[in-house]
Amino acid sequence: MMRAFLALLARDLRLAVRLGGGGGMAVFFFLVVIALLPLGIGPDRELLARVAPGMLWVALLLAALLTLDRLFQADYEDGSLDLLSMGSLPLELVVVAKALGHWLTTGLPLVVVTPLLGVLLNLPGEAYAPLILAMLIGTPALSFLGAIGAALTVGVRRGGLLASLLVLPFYVPVLIFGTGAANAASGGFSGEAGQQSLILLAAVALSSLVLGPLGGAAALRANLR
């Protein structure tokens, strides 16, 4: 079972690398949104520093949403999802492999470029470490919760847009606790609030690791039959 799981994960990663697109597009989107922001609200460095953590998180959420339809759609269209659902691997683990692959090819690259974009937004120096840490904890939750939305809309016309609408409310806690960690570091709140939000973020992420595969597999079963 483990071997089947790893084989599926490796296949997804290989496909992502070979075909390119997805993850790279998300990073590019992230960059463009952040570049648009100062053009919209003005180049005031102090203002930018204050909104930077929240804006980085919001842009990251949008970039991650953009790639959700990649999660199951291609496999659904070429029929391999049907094969997977009949294979030896439980559907829950298929969702885990898919979400993990999504995180490795989309969430992780987004976190990696965040420091660079932080410079563009004049993010205060002491906020970098907590922000990156929060993103490392929070982005898996985005992939796993997103898997539910992607599974619900698999095989639906313009499913990507619908998946985003379905999933966004579930991203609210990640956004709140994620920005909480960085905001606490860059002043405003006590350090304790920052620690607390990191712990709460970790709790949300862990629960999404359970909820995502269960909900995603149930949604796939509903859609595949």
Binding site: L152, G159, P173, I176, A219, N223
Partner: protein
């Protein structure tokens, strides 16, 4: 041809064995439900508008509460109905529970919208702003988004059985998430705002105000149930129409 008929007859039997009983029962229940809800809401309106004192702090705006609080209650009640019906639909595969969940969503969404609107109309004179990012309004807004997503999912997936199962999964995931979202919003709110805004949850509600509130709450809940039944009846008929069309298309294909 004979084979075709047997299949559609079997399908019809499966889909309508129980709904037929539901149609008979709901047809008898509806008239008294409409009448009772009208009566109770009417009495509630009388007390809310004429026979209750203005609040010493909120003045006459307290009368908005007699609409706002029941609407907020029905917003949550509607989601609970939806979630419970969805769970029942997933477990027992009973077609009526799917229809119940589907029918509850637009009603719940409408009352959620109403709660937001009246909250805003109360907030302007009391807080001095149409919209305050306080924990309640924010989480009700997110609840509204959940409703819209649920309705959108039903509308997008064409095949009813598949749509029902997918929507049920969404409703249940939402039900699990609502407490988490709610908690995070409260946490966020206490972090960002000194609790300076006037809170509605005062320790005591005068009995003179409790009466219209209770009447409006009960009356509108009865109305909710009546609406739910009507919408479920419409859904049963919609499935019937769909089956008839499918049978027609099938026999036309054979001819």
């Amino acid at each position: 041809m004979a084979d075709m008929n047997r299949i559609s007859a079997a399908q019809r039997f499966h889909a309508y064995a129980n709904p037929a009983r539901f149609m008979a029962l709901s047809a008898r229940l509806l008239a008294p439900l409409w009448g009772l809800s009208l009566l109770v809401v009417g009495a509630g309106l009388w007390f809310a508008l004429f026979d209750s004192p203005p609040d010493y702090q909120q003045g006459e705006t307290v009368r908005i509460m007699y609409v706002h609080v029941p609407a907020a209650w029905l917003a949550m009640f509607g989601y609970s109905v939806m979630a419970v019906a969805s769970a029942a639909g997933l477990v027992f595969r009973h077609p009526l529970s799917d229809l119940c969940a589907k029918s509850a969503a637009p009603i719940g969404a409408a009352f959620t919208f109403l709660a937001l609107l009246t909250g805003s109309l109360w907030g302007k004179p009391m807080w001095g702003t149409w919209w305050e990012w306080d924990a309640r309004m924010t989480s009700v807004l997110i609840l509204f988004f959940l409703y819209l997503g649920y309705i959108a999912l039903w509308a997008t997936i064409e095949e009813p059985a598949r749509a029902a199962r997918a929507a049920a999964v969404l409703a249940l995931v939402g039900a699990i998430n609502i407490p988490i979202i709610r908690y995070s919003v409260v946490w966020w709110n206490t972090l960002h705002q000194p609790a300076s805004v006037f809170r509605m949850d005062g320790p005591t509600i005068a009995p003179a105000m409790l009466l219209p509130l209770a009447l409006m709450g009960i009356g509108l809940t009865l109305l909710f149930v009546a609406l739910l039944l009507v919408r479920m009846r419409a859904e049963v008929m919609r499935r019937r129409v769909r089956n008839l069309r499918l049978a027609q298309a099938a026999s036309a294909g054979e001819a």
